[in-house]
Symmetry: C2
Subunit: 117 residues, 2 copies
DNA sequence: TCCCTTGCTTACCTCAAGGTAGGTACCTCA
DNA sequence: TGAGGTACCTACCTTGAGGTAAGCAAGGGA
């Protein structure tokens, strides 16, 4: 338990997908890893303005549990940890791309600010 | 204000899309409307086991504000209100389909229960 | 000797999304 | 007369996701 997941059956595929990618920063983490391939913890933190360390770690752990991201620890001092997408993570990201496109077009349509990456 | 939206710029397209479809039941509402074309309020309620009337109305209003669903009121007694997808709602739903597929495959992979529709 | 670095952990707190429970108007049917 | 159905509204409360701030290990550099 305490794995941050819903209880009970899913109502449909979107329901199940949202259970994985629904955290406030998770989709952005995927995006960041997709764009850079491999990222250290601190790099991710700096790449996601506004996220706190606690929450970032929390969501990374949950994504790791769900086999979406891979965590590679280098036993050095100071410590070095690298995060990357797994096979499933890559597939998830691909599945998110049409949604990202729709979102980008929408923010353009309504004139919302959209920070370029 | 009080329109249930984030403040500040979006970090990317997914961020913007999640702001629209991120409510607990919103994606399921879209799914339901996509599958049935047009649904009355009570039909939606019965189709989304567990949702409360208050929250369902809330999310429908927000989706209406965002031009995702259309609300048609028939001035009869007893009242009759029909909800359907707008053009943008249809596009959003199409953008969600790869994600739905991924979610369905994932719940199959991990052996999660998935209620058939 | 002290501070700096990185990648965490822990305790505590806030706030808003969501849930619960009641009420409303209006008409129909029994 | 009154129960039932529809599509809401309103006040209140709970819960948990997320935010804040502090501490820690272990070595390197000044």
């Amino acid at each position: 338990m305490a794995s941050g997941h819903r209880t009970g059956p899913y109502l449909c595929g979107i329901d199940a997908a949202m259970d994985v990618v629904g955290g406030k920063w998770k989709a952005l983490i995927l995006w960041e890893l997709h764009n850079h391939g491999v990222r250290r913890f601190g790099e991710l933190r700096r790449g996601l303005p506004g996220v706190s360390e606690k929450v970032l770690i929390q969501q990374l752990r949950e994504l790791e549990e769900d086999d979406i991201v891979h965590r590679e620890v280098y036993r050095e001092v100071p410590p070095k940890v690298e995060y990357s997408l797994t096979e499933h993570g890559t597939a998830l990201n691909a599945a998110l791309e049409p949604l990202a496109l729709w979102g980008a077009r929408r923010s353009e349509r309504i004139g919302a600010e959209l920070i370029p990456h």
